[in-house]
Amino acid sequence: MVIHLLGIFTEIPWTRGREMEKLLLENKKVILEKWEDSILESYAHDTFVIFKKQKNPFANPVGHKVRTGLEELYDVLCEPSDNEVLTPYLEQLISLRAVQEISASSAVSFVFKLKYIVRQELTKKTMTGSYKEWLAFDARIDAAALAVFDMYMASRERINRVRISETTSGRGLVIAGGCPSGLLRHEKGKKSKSPSVQSG
């Protein structure tokens, strides 16, 4: 999937060379750190410590996906571009959010949190830009949230397809206790390597 932030709120353009864009790039590290924390802090403290500190991506897939996904989205948000952008890391993060025991609103809420964090940080840097710059940036975040929601729904669709395919392919039968008479009925019809029957 791609993100295409321009074009949704065209009346509030995000153009190159603004003060806000400069500040966002200058403060990228600290903003990303806070944004990352805002997601990881939803875990218990012991988990937070591990997910935050372990930098090996294979020993800490959740921390890694949060870090890389947020950075990718941040770069898209800052970059004034008309192009569609491929965001594979962000998609992985959303795929993770889509299989966690959280509501849909919770899964995508992190995008809006960036508004709050950016306000906190840039106010400290005496951001003087006009309200129009704030509006333009907020519009980009809103557009990103919509794109992220599409990604979330695509992941939910995918997990449902996996569930169906496991049943229909016969993989679900591996240990499901299939019904022998059901299998026999199936066999009468045609040669089959992976019969699809109800368990039990």
């Binding site: 392919s169 240990i175 206790g177 992976s194």
Partner: protein
């Protein structure tokens, strides 16, 4: 769904740390009860199945309900059961006492890494039982209570056990990191045994056990059905290679009895692995037989209790004795090999009525199996390759860019690390390892073993499969890997679902499928156009 009121927004609209205060709910683990929702636990055992096993307290119940309809004296039953097991299993007593909570295992569990739930840290999962053990069986626990990490057994504790004993696949990755060698999988095994005593169980495990008891395999398939399906696979082999194969069934006097998970005979992609076995045995002219009675390598008794494990393991040896074979050759299974290598000998062994396995083709004596008399197909195949007994053309797998997933049990429970790699080296042109901390004895589980391969907990399985999928993603992006091989039937089924979600460009296969593809058979078609999945070989796509 209710719209939050203004004052609730101060907490959070999304039940996460407040945007305004940043407050995070902080509680001691003992004070956080397990809360069940649809989709986070397996369905309970059907009444008819529980009755079939003659297990106690068959009834309709639902983990989501407050009342689990336990017997009145559930507390006594569990505590007596624990006492009995502490006396019976020295390991349990040791594992309860020696943990120093160093934390080496804390971040090693795929369930913890995928869910972030601290109770999935192996140390804490074991602590769920240890806390009760301390309270009932140690002086410090009796005197000091919570200060000594003790807590009484309550209904909430039992519910917590059910949740976390079934969020562990007994993969034993944590054990590989424990300086004391505590096998947390055995703590899970005991937790599940204790829960069975009061009728807390899952259907996904009990029904395959019942079927194995009745007809010999998880799916309850009767002999003719099982045999027919293998003959369908032989038809496909003939279409693809031109080779006609007629395997024998329940043949007394065969030299070798071959046993594999029934999934290899019925479900994709396991069937392609079975086609690989059939081609291999035909290639070398092996004197072997299939059995329709011992038609299951898997042993869900391991996930139930030790008596069931012993019983299901015993049928393989009973059938070997009945047929009068010399030894047993085992297919690509996971937990069958754990049962074989770690428990069989004390349960049903030694199998003195069988001979120490010797390859009839190479003369190699597998003295590593001198007690169990059962050889792994990868050991057998690697030996054949080493002795130049196979005609192989790895280019027939050139359309596959492979990696290898060490299946947990063969890797950690029997040390099968080199043989599959040696085979891979000879049957594919090139293959790639996943990162060092995710392979060999540190391999990550598929996330759905121990009877957790069920659709109702699909999201949970995707979380627990994340560490494996993440490592796979790395070689997928770096080397364009499109096939992950493994040596476990549950892997073949569950990793296929895992990659459909996390790595849609990758497929899953057994190593023997790659062997079958690469084998150059005497009398085969002049030009092999497709692999065992009827997929075109490289250069044959048009």
């Amino acid at each position: 769904m209710a719209i939050p009121k203004a004052e609730e927004l101060g907490v959070s609209v999304v039940r996460e740390p407040s945007l305004m205060t940043g407050a995070i709910p902080q509680k001691e683990w003992m004070d956080v009860p397990a809360k069940f929702m649809e989709g986070d636990s397996c369905y309970p055992g059907k009444v008819s199945i529980v009755e079939y096993h003659k297990f106690p307290y068959p009834r309709e119940w639902n983990p989501v309900d407050d009342d689990w309809k336990l017997p009145d004296d559930w507390e006594d039953i569990i505590l007596n059961g624990l006492k009995e097991r502490l006396d019976k299993f020295r390991t349990l007593k040791v594992f309860m006492d020696i943990c120093v909570r160093c934390g080496a295992c804390a971040d090693k569990c795929h369930f913890f890494l995928g869910t972030g739930d601290p109770k999935n840290m192996p140390v804490l999962r074991a602590e769920l039982l240890r806390s009760v053990y301390r309270n009932e069986f140690t002086t410090a626990g009796k005197l000091l209570g919570k200060m000594a990490g003790a807590r009484p057994l309550t209904i909430e504790v039992v519910k917590e056990w059910f949740m976390y004993a079934y969020q562990c696949t007994e993969c034993r990755r944590c054990s590989a990191f424990c300086p004391y060698g505590i096998d947390t999988a055995e703590v899970t095994i005991i937790l599940r045994e204790l829960l069975h005593l009061v009728g807390i169980n899952t259907n996904w495990i009990l029904e395959p056990c019942a079927n194995s008891n009745r007809t010999g395999n998880h799916m309850g398939l009767q002999p003719h059905t099982y045999k027919d399906n293998v003959s369908y696979l032989c038809d496909d082999i003939e279409d693809i290679t031109g080779i006609h194969i007629e395997p024998t069934w329940n043949r007394k006097g065969a030299e070798i009895l071959f046993i594999t998970p029934s999934a290899d005979v019925f479900a994709e992609p396991g069937i392609y692995t079975a086609m690989g076995y059939l081609l291999l045995f035909e290639h070398i002219g092996l004197d072997y037989t299939w059995s329709t009675y011992s038609s299951e390598g898997g042993n869900f008794g391991l996930f139930t209790n030790n008596e069931m494990m012993k019983k299901l393991n015993g049928k393989m040896y009973a059938e070997a004795k009945r047929l009068g074979v010399k030894w047993i050759l085992g297919g690509e299974c996971g937990h069958m090999w754990r049962v074989l290598h770690q428990y069989m000998d004390t349960m049903n062994g030694p199998a003195d009525f069988l001979e120490v396995p010797q390859s009839p083709i190479t003369g190699t004596v597998f003295d590593n199996t001198s007690s169990t008399k059962m050889v792994h197909i990868s050991e057998f195949t690697a030996d054949l390759i080493k002795n130049n007994k196979l005609k192989l053309d790895p280019m027939r797998n050139a359309h596959r860019i492979c990696t290898f997933h060490d299946s947990c049990n063969p890797a950690r429970a029997m040390g099968l690390l080199e043989e599959p790699r040696y085979i891979m080296d000879h049957v594919v042109p090139k293959w790639y390892e996943m990162p060092e901390n995710t392979i060999r004895e540190k391999t990550y589980c598929c996330g759905s073993g121990t009877g957790l391969n069920t659709g109702e907990i699909m999201e949970l399985r995707m979380r627990s499969g994340l560490p494996r999928a993440n490592a796979l993603k790395h070689v997928e992006e770096k080397f364009n890997v499109n096939m992950m091989s493994c040596v476990c039937a549950i892997d073949r089924a569950t990793l296929t679902s895992m990659v459909e979600y996390w790595n849609p460009n990758v497929e899953i296969c057994g190593i023997s499928e790659l062997v079958g593809n690469a084998l150059v058979m005497d009398g085969e078609k002049e030009e092999r156009e497709s692999g065992l999945r009827f997929e075109p070989l490289e250069g044959m796509e048009g």
